[in-house]
Symmetry: C2
Subunit: 130 residues, 2 copies
DNA sequence: CTCCGATATGTTATGACATTACATTTATGT
DNA sequence: ACATAAATGTAATGTCATAACATATCGGAG
């Protein structure tokens, strides 16, 4: 799978670290996990993350300063991705809601605002934690 | 006005700095503006910001690591506040959209997620900048 | 194949944002 | 006026992210 994506070694290591993780990881946590693989500097992680984010294989969670592997198997080009973040267990649920996007689009049209990127993050307690 | 809010000196200085600003300010930018008033340490700013945020007089823009004075004169207790951020001129438009909140509420109910705080930030170009 | 440009990597240093810990002062209520 | 809670001052440190520069690797054109 990763092979067909033509990832470089560092990119693949970073993506795997995120895929194996239960929750989001900060760049420095990823670095710590990959020191055994020879990675030493934060920039090595950030560079890999940048490429992975370009390809939508990884998302940044703004409210956590952390990163998650994309769990949406569809190709969400252009789509806004949203997150529900459990403050108890740390799990992050990624979703994309058509109606929500329409509603955001309606607001931006009404206000003549040209949207580029939308960040939507909901913090609370997931089904398992309340 | 500020007097009726019973703000402390530091809180008032920080709030005024934000009110006088065209756009969002980072805590360190606020500090720089207030050195003349005798403030010296980041913590003095962060503490004032925390109190102001508790009282919803100030909001944090997560995607900018910066803060804005609340521009909504209504009392938005419990409401989700959203932001449209112009990447050209830096202006931040604060808004609260009923339909949007309903839609987010619908998603959380469907997924049995108990929401606490929602962050919604749209980056793009404002009417004046495109 | 070999050369070249583009891309990725390695490394050090530094910048930007935020908090911990502790001592002191000021405000508030009884 | 006294006790307690809230706010303040200060230094040090922790966390997140990027700049600058040198080197190596990949992929295509000749």
């Amino acid at each position: 799978m990763s092979e067909t994506l033509n990832l470089t070694r560092n990119q693949e290591l970073v993506l795997k670290a995120l895929l194996h993780s239960q929750g989001p990881l900060s760049a420095y946590q990823i670095l710590d996990e990959l020191r055994g693989e020879g990675l030493r500097a934060p920039l090595q992680i950030y560079r890999a993350l940048d490429k992975l984010r370009d390809r939508k294989l990884v998302h940044r969670i703004e409210t956590l300063n952390a990163f998650v592997a994309c769990s949406c198997h569809a190709d969400h080009a252009g789509e806004t991705v949203a997150f529900a973040i459990c403050e108890a267990c740390g799990k992050v649920e990624e979703f994309s809601d058509e109606a929500l996007q329409k509603r955001i689009g309606a607001w931006t049209r009404e206000h003549d605002f040209l949207p580029a990127r939308t960040t939507l993050e909901i913090k609370g307690l997931c089904a398992a934690c309340h």
